[in-house]
């Protein structure tokens, strides 16, 4: 265990009804932008909205799909593909793989929460 304990809180971000299946939405917490994805099976994933290859905040506008068993999003900028569960880069298109940050997501009733460490 580390000596400095980060405070972990669950933050309500939106209602499930605000999301559409396989079409991402961005959310803002403080200055941090999160990309939220609702999949067909009802699960919600939260990854960083910042595309690590272009630095633009656009991941929420990418195409959702699958690669093998992994649910994915392709960055709309240069099309790198990321695993929505882990944030890892599955197709770097000739670049070095760079991951997306991921946040744990919880659903309580109709509300979607992210676990935030500050």
């Amino acid at each position: 265990m580390s000596a400095v304990t980060a405070t972990r809180t669950w933050v309500r971000i939106c209602a499930i009804g605000d999301l559409e299946v396989e079409r991402g939405r961005a959310a803002l917490h403080g200055d941090v932008q999160v990309a939220l994805f609702l999949l067909r099976d009802g699960t919600v994933h939260a990854v960083s909205n910042r595309d690590p290859y272009s630095s633009a905040q656009v991941i929420s506008r990418g195409i959702v799909g699958t690669k093998g068993d992994a649910p994915t999003v392709a960055s709309p900028m240069y099309k790198q593909v990321f695993d929505l569960r882990t944030g890892s880069c599955l197709e770097a298109h000739g670049k070095d793989p760079r991951p997306l940050q991921v946040w744990p997501v919880a659903r309580r009733g109709d509300d979607i929460y992210l676990r935030w460490e500050e």
């Binding site: 971000i13 961005a26 803002l28 910042r50 195409i63 799909g65 699958t66 392709a74 900028m77 000739g94």
Partner: protein
């Protein structure tokens, strides 16, 4: 190191203000902010100008248009320009030059760029009034003035002779002809352009030149010029005793380097002319460099601008402390005379021991082509092209490399270099972004197990940058797999084993209308960024539903996703449609107001309309509401769909126009707007054969003739440019439209994903003849189907943006954040440049001083 000296400003003096001096200054000044002290001294009383384009003077290009970018000379405080005051003396001991007016300028570094002077024949009468050389703006202005007054005096058109039948002579003869002078080219040797062409090529060229109304006289040595009573030149006498009348004479008998300053300053010069330099552009005095035509390198001084520019870059780099060397001359040349195609490159005379040549000649068409090959007939050493030099651009880069195919194939008409079954040589660069060669790609297939363009991208980075080489890479992979006996997969991606064409048919026949249904029936998984947009396009054509309707919305690629083009910082550009490039003043004002109110960067696009950049996601509906209210609609700049129909002004205004090209362009653009296709579609309509709309670079090019519209198909700009080919001639308006309808629909049904019409046509079995049979003779019996499909598109068209604005569900997708719907992306930052904004670079963001946050770009309404 105790006392700090202020660094001395290096004094650089450039003698000669010609093309090469200009390039040198540009290179030097743009690459350093160092505090230099540069003096440019010119003999001609004007800014450096485009000497290569000198003949344009007769086509109306004035001094201003010929002047090379004057910005450094006029505005860079480090430069002092002394025009019209030639240097008379170099004092190397004192390191200074003295000009005609007596000005003394000291230097630390002297750069000689005095070019050449044009020689005259050393015969009696060479300087009579009416005799000219062809080198400077002064020369051509004098020639023009003389021709005007002299023909007025004589009350008839003039007869003129150009002495010297090289490149320059032919250009000068063309210029005389433009001035209304009946022109003859006199050449002492047995053929035109004897330095570049062999006898059959020179003879073929002479025929082409004569067909343009310029007489050619070879084997004729001029011995005397005689005046008439007025004292002006009137006749030429030749060695065989014959005479010819001549009211005006232009000498184009070669150039001599202007090395007189260097010679009298004791610098080493070549006996045949030119200041001797080494590969670093240094003369034998380390403080003096020479560049351009005045320099002699390896025993040669060459009258071409490209080697001069290369020397200019070397000199600038070295003065800035870098290392660079001049690698020698490339003597390849192409004649710039309109209507006459001539090129010569490499070892055109087959002087390499054992060299072979392959010749193709079609005297009736005035075509002569020759390739020079190494003794094993594999390596390209040089060539000559007369009458059809279209292969020049593709052959020249292959110099010194293996041709990889039957050389004859390169010479056949319209042969091009994309040869059937021909392999690119291993050394040929396929991906220019990452400098990946064909050989490297082959290695990736054979040794590294790559089986598609994606695999090659991962291993070699070919295709990883701009992506324009992906098709070429795919072709090489396909060919190599074929050689290894493996079949090439046409599967769209891991989710579909079908090709796009098969999928199109599958969807059409099954009548399925949603992605989920299609993938459950014909594929697996939940799709990806390859198959989803492809299916979106197929469904758009077959069902005609809105791009953001229901599940469709999740299939759309980056730009269709929000019906705008994503920019590097995640904002968008907005392009309203301007059919045919036509726009009213009020329309322009509206656009200007909107761009101003939303602080958008504006630019005219290459497609004849206005683009507004920097719109944030949540601003798109507000911007479009104003555009739609003003009568604009989506320009589909984002779609794999009809982009623009480019037009020239045509018969309504242009004095040469044959038909109403704008009217037709508008009609076509309104008909095909919104039509989704495997790739984007562009058209062009020109009002006459002058082709100001560049229609032949489009998927469909329409050119007006006296007999009706000519329709060209399969043109492309972009990465592999291709001229469209003639499909049909003399069509009337409706005939043209029916033909385009069928051509587009047939393409949409059968092309591969992201395959434009140009490569589609190249791969079409049976080629253009087959296409004609399908479109005009209904050889497949599908014309009724194709017509109905297009009619469906035209009827079903609605403006995507107007429809979106009317639908609150769709509009919610434009909220910036689900929990802060109108808050702008806080990461955006801009700087001002040339009176507009642009995204800040990483460095600028770090410095923070100059930033404009997106939120402070106030929206005024």
């Amino acid at each position: 190191m105790s006392d700090i000296l202020s660094p001395l400003r290096e004094r650089i003096v450039v003698v000669g203000a010609g093309m090469v001096a200009h390039r040198f200054l540009e290179s030097l000044l743009t690459r350093t902010d160092a505090d230099l002290d540069v003096t440019l001294i010119g003999e001609e009383g004007r800014h450096p100008y485009d000497r290569v384009g000198l003949t344009g003077f007769f086509g109306g290009r004035g001094d201003d248009e010929l002047t090379l970018d004057p910005v450094h000379i006029d505005t860079d405080p480090r430069v002092r320009f002394l025009p019209g005051d030639p240097v008379r003396r170099i004092d190397r001991a004192e390191r200074q030059v003295v000009t005609q007016s007596g000005e003394v300028v000291g230097y630390d570094r002297l750069v000689l760029a005095t070019g050449s002077y044009a020689a005259r024949l050393a015969v009696d009468g060479f300087s009579l009034p009416g005799c000219f050389v062809y080198r400077t703006l002064g020369d051509v202005a004098g020639l023009q003035a003389f021709v005007e007054t002299r023909s007025r005096e004589l009350g008839r058109p003039l007869t003129g002779h150009v002495i010297g039948g090289g490149l320059l002579g032919l250009e000068a003869a063309g210029a005389l002809q433009q001035l209304g002078v009946e022109a003859t080219v006199v050449q002492s040797s047995d053929r035109l352009m004897s330095a570049q062409l062999d006898l059959p090529a020179g003879t073929a060229l002479a025929r082409l030149i004569e067909a343009r109304g310029i007489r050619v006289r070879t084997g004729a040595l001029t011995t005397l010029l005689t005046p008439d009573r007025s004292g002006s030149v009137a006749a030429l006498e030749f060695r065989d005793g014959s005479h010819a009348a001549a009211d005006v004479v232009v000498f184009t008998v070669g150039v001599r380097p202007r090395d007189e300053l260097a010679r009298s300053a004791g610098l080493t010069c070549d006996p045949r002319g030119g200041v001797v330099i080494d590969e670093r552009c240094d003369t034998d005095d380390p403080a003096v460099m020479a560049i351009g035509e005045v320099a002699s390198f390896g025993g040669m001084a060459v009258g071409l601008v490209a080697p001069g520019y290369a020397m200019a870059e070397v000199a600038a780099t070295r003065i800035l402390g870098g290392e660079a060397t001049f690698d020698g001359y490339d003597l390849s040349t192409k004649l710039k005379l309109t209507g006459v195609d001539v090129a010569s490159f490499g070892d055109a005379f087959a002087e390499t021991p054992g060299a072979l040549d392959v010749v193709y000649a079609d005297p009736a068409a005035g075509v002569y082509k020759k390739l020079v090959l190494s003794d094993d007939a594999k390596t390209l050493l040089g060539g000559i092209l007369v009458g059809d030099a279209s292969a020049y651009g593709s052959l020249r880069p292959l110099l010194g490399t293996a041709l990889g195919a039957d050389p004859a194939a390169f010479l056949l008409p319209e042969g091009g270099v994309e040869l059937p079954g021909g392999d690119l040589p291993d050394e040929a660069i396929v991906c220019s972004c990452s400098a990946v060669t064909a050989g490297r790609i082959r290695h990736a297939v054979h040794e590294e197990g790559c089986t598609d363009a994606g695999g090659v991208k991962a291993c070699t980075k070919a295709g990883a940058t701009c992506g324009s080489c992906v098709v070429a890479v795919g072709k090489i992979v396909g060919r190599e797999l074929g050689k290894m006996g493996k079949t090439v997969s046409h599967a769209l991606c891991e989710h579909f084993d079908l090709s796009r064409r098969q999928l199109f048919d599958a969807v059409r026949v099954s009548g399925l209308t949603t992605f989920s249904a299609v993938i459950e029936r014909f594929g697996r998984g939940r799709g990806c960024d390859v198959c989803k947009p492809a299916l979106a396009s197929i469904l758009a054509v077959l069902t005609g539903t809105h791009v953001l309707d229901g599940e469709n919305a999740t299939l759309q690629d980056t730009n269709d996703h929000v019906m705008a083009n994503m920019q590097k910082d995640g904002t968008y550009s907005v392009v309203p449609r301007m059919p045919g490039g036509e726009v009213t003043p009020d329309g322009l004002i509206t656009i200007g107001e909107i761009a101003r109110d939303f602080a958008l960067y504006t630019k005219i696009t290459g497609g004849q309309r206005v683009d507004m950049f920097g719109a944030r996601l949540e601003q798109l509906p507000d911007i479009w509401r104003r555009l739609v209210d003003a009568g604009f609609e989506s320009g589909h700049a984002y779609g794999k769909s009809l982009r623009t129909v480019k037009s020239c002004v045509g018969s309504t205004w242009c004095r040469y126009g044959v038909l109403d090209s704008v009217g037709m362009a508008v009609r076509l653009e309104l008909r095909y707007r919104g039509l989704r296709a495997p790739h984007k579609l562009k058209l062009g309509v020109s009002g006459c054969a002058r082709e100001c709309a560049e229609a032949r670079s489009k998927d469909v090019g329409v050119i007006a003739t006296e007999k009706g519209w000519n329709m060209y198909v399969g043109g492309n700009g972009g990465y592999s440019p291709r001229h469209a080919e003639l499909l049909a001639e003399g069509l009337d308006d409706d005939g043209l439209i029916t033909a385009i309808d069928r051509y587009f629909m047939y393409y949409i049904r059968t092309a591969d994903r992201l395959q434009r019409t140009a490569p589609w046509i190249q791969e079409l079995e049976g080629g253009l003849d087959e296409l004609r049979a399908v479109i005009f003779d209904d050889s497949l019996g599908i014309c009724a189907d194709l017509d109905a499909a297009m009619a469906g598109h035209v009827e079903g068209y609605e403006d995507e943006w107007a429809a979106t604005l009317a639908d609150p569900e769709k509009l919610r997708r434009f909220e910036s954040f689900v929990n802060a719907p109108t808050t702008p992306d806080p990461s955006l930052a801009y700087v001002a440049e040339r009176g507009q904004v642009r995204p800040a670079t990483e460095d600028e963001r770090r410095s923070e001083a100059v930033l404009i946050a997106s939120t402070t770009l106030a929206v005024r309404r």
